[in-house]
Amino acid sequence: MATIIDVPEEKAIQVNNFEFTYAGVSEPNLKNITMPIAKNKVTALIGPSGCGKTTLLRSFNRMHDLYPGNTYNGEILFEGRNILAEKEDMIKLRTQIGMIFQKPTAFPMSIYDNVAYGMRLKGIKNKTELNDRVEKALKDAAIWKETSDRLKDDANGLSGGQQQRLCIARAIAVEPEVLLFDEPTSALDPISTQGIEKLIIELKEKVSILIVTHNMQQAARVSDYTGFMYLGDLVELGRTEELFVTPSEKLTEEYITGKFG
């Protein structure tokens, strides 16, 4: 019954009949989800608390593998392979599909070392290359001006909004194909939120973006496509302006007009 449009653009990811079950649960928490994620576009996932949007997001970089007993079914196609396959290399996958968390997660080290962290993991040791790429990542994340004269300072001295942009710089420094944002502004003030939203729109030139948000206005502001989830189902996926103005599903309409959720 779900209304899922197909996207005209090239696809970064295609999800087919995906199901996910948390450890110790008998019914799947995500049910039969099929959706495309368009390349170089922003796709937002909205829905009431507990609908499974974060669970779905965390499947794309297989974060659920960190905890035992969770099971995936179906397929998530990325660059021609099913990333749910047994033989998928987590380290490679996670450098291709990066993630930004709800709360800023600056590591307890300097600003420079934070941004260089992922590149060093990839084995980049050349000082000049590291310097150049750290600078570029900080510029792309719109935080270079505030940090260029204190790269050696502890990253925990930055404000929440700055830390979140630092985390974005850290994620884009390894040049991923896809970035996953898990409610990236829910711990931030309105001005920082505006900055992050602007950044997300700019970043889509280089990466494909999937963002989970509690805030429908935010989805409307930043995304090209929006998916509405409810109780583990993807109810509707459509172009953002259409989904918010003329939703096809009654449930979507009720949610965006504030009848529940």
Binding site: I91, K92, L93, M99, K103, F107, L121
Partner: protein
């Protein structure tokens, strides 16, 4: 008397009783410290650091042997106990977690070990490390002190690592870091002040141990740096000198008590300061 008046009076009584109890505790502590400082400072002089033990009545008598012995016992126990404690604590928090049966059993056992009388640990080491070799040794003392130190450091490390937000670990994994790198570079780093506090408190705790050393490293009234032989420690020396009938030995006992207390006090204060610094962040 109205209900409100009654409540006010009861409130005052409870407050007075608890303030009084607190005052009694603090008074005894201050009393001990005062006596210790008065007698200790009086007994401290250059000879203490320059000379080894000597028979009563000798002018050139000091604590050099005990200070060096103590430093060796504590130093080597710390070198062995700290890495073992931190690694075991890391296992509990990062590999075992709160749901693992094995990890919880280790947690319970180390809690029991922490409150085990140290004399029991001393006699255990005597049975396995002194009796079979036929003589006391510095190494036996080190084994006893290490056994006492490990559970303290292990539990603090475990607790401090669990305070590191899960999101920080996930952020490490999300960048493609393997687990050992997330643990070494992100989690342990994030908890380092807390762990250092645990280490300081662990060292402070074993520094004051006497009973397990009586059974293991025993004592030597002269300077010895060979750990396979009995070796002097401040605590056992203090015990011997303080219980002796000679006034000059008793004075040395006061000096040992003073030095030991100041050392432990500064470790504790340093630990507290680190904790405060950590909270401010």
């Amino acid at each position: 008397m109205t209900h409100t008046e009654k409540r006010i009076i009861i409130n005052k009584i409870v407050m007075m009783l608890s303030s009084l109890s607190a005052a009694v505790g603090i008074a005894f502590l201050l009393w001990i410290l005062t006596i210790l400082i008065i007698n200790g400072i009086d007994a401290i002089n250059w000879n203490i650091f320059a000379f080894e033990g000597a028979p009563p009545g000798y002018e050139e008598s000091g604590l050099k042997h005990a200070l060096i012995g103590q430093a060796m016992l504590i130093g080597v126990s710390t070198l062995i106990g700290v890495p073992l404690g931190i690694l075991a604590g890391t296992y509990l928090s990062e590999y075992g977690g709160l749901t693992s049966r094995l990890a919880n059993i280790v947690r319970d056992i180390s809690d029991i070990m922490m409150s085990a009388p140290s004399i029991v640990i001393g006699s255990f080491v005597y049975a396995i490390f002194v009796a079979p070799f036929g003589h006391f040794s510095g190494w036996a003392g080190i084994v006893a002190l290490t056994i006492i130190m490990i559970p303290i450091i292990l539990r603090t490390t475990d607790d401090m690592l669990q305070l590191v937000p899960t999101a920080l670990r996930e952020a490490g994994f999300a960048l493609g870091a393997p687990k050992y790198k997330v643990i070494m570079q992100v989690v342990l780093r994030g908890a380092k002040t807390g762990i250092l506090t645990g280490v300081l408190l662990g060292v402070a705790r074993v520094s004051g141990e006497t009973a397990p050393l009586l059974f293991t490293s025993f004592n030597d009234n002269f300077l010895n740096t060979d750990l396979s032989e009995p070796i002097a420690s401040l605590t056992v020396t203090m015990f011997n000198y303080a219980t002796s009938p000679y006034e000059d030995w008793q004075k040395l006992g006061w000096a040992a008590a003073f030095i030991l207390s100041m050392f432990i006090l500064s470790l504790n204060i340093l630990g507290r300061l680190l904790l405060i610094k950590r909270k401010k962040k």
